[in-house]
Amino acid sequence: MFLFIVFALIAIVAALGVILSRKPVYSALFLLLNFCTLAAMYIMLQAQFLAMVQVIVYAGAIVVLFLFVMMLIGGGELSDSRKKGASLRGWLTWPHVTALVLSVLLVAGLIYGLIAGTLAPRQGNAIAFGQGSVEAIASVLYTEYVLPFELTSLLLLVGMIGAVVLARREA
């Protein structure tokens, strides 16, 4: 329980760091921290295979891709700064205020609903959970979900072709 609180705090602070950082590189590093914390939580939730996939795919590929793109196009930390200087009045435009109010309402509503039991999930039947190991996921992935599995490979191929075509310089 204590471990969950620690990971939750780190995840939340890292998420706030992503959206509040001045420089995009700091945001990418905070995002990396967030992903790794989530991977730790997946281990706590007995999803060890997913935790490793999270580290490899999200932390190891997607964040690296973000950093590469920032290296190529320069991040652009100056484009997000306010023109009139750092003032709180200048920041409180109606989109910002609306975003803040709605997000606070969303979180408050969800938390209230979940804690008070109105949104609580019902206890399901205890089927063979298989402890989230590689064998358990493989036994389901290659039998029951073999079609989505093959389609994801097709999706990745299409994504790769699209990325190569889009990022080409005009020859």
């Binding site: 973000f66 793109v69 196009i73 930390e77 969303l106 969800l110 959970f129 989505p148 994801t152 699209g162």
Partner: protein, 100 residues
Amino acid sequence: MVPTEYYLVLSAILFTIGVVGVLIRRNVLIIFMSVEMMLNAVNLSFVALARHFTDLNGQIFVLMVMVVAAAEVAVGLAIVMTIVRRKDTTNIEDVNLLKG
């Protein structure tokens, strides 16, 4: 064992932080990162409920979401790079050719 509701609350908070990030930041890369954070929050929700119902389908779905997110990041960053090269700005308010 930590109650499932705590994980769902954390997932809600992370998702909301992602939404706020998309709404208030103007740097296109930070917006993209906030979208990835939203996807991760939903993944956490899936995994927590998979353990709650001891159903492995939740984890399989998370695998699919991760694959889709990876493909989306690849293509999305290619688009972002092309736009930034053309317009020489990472401010999303400058990408307004379709504005009425």
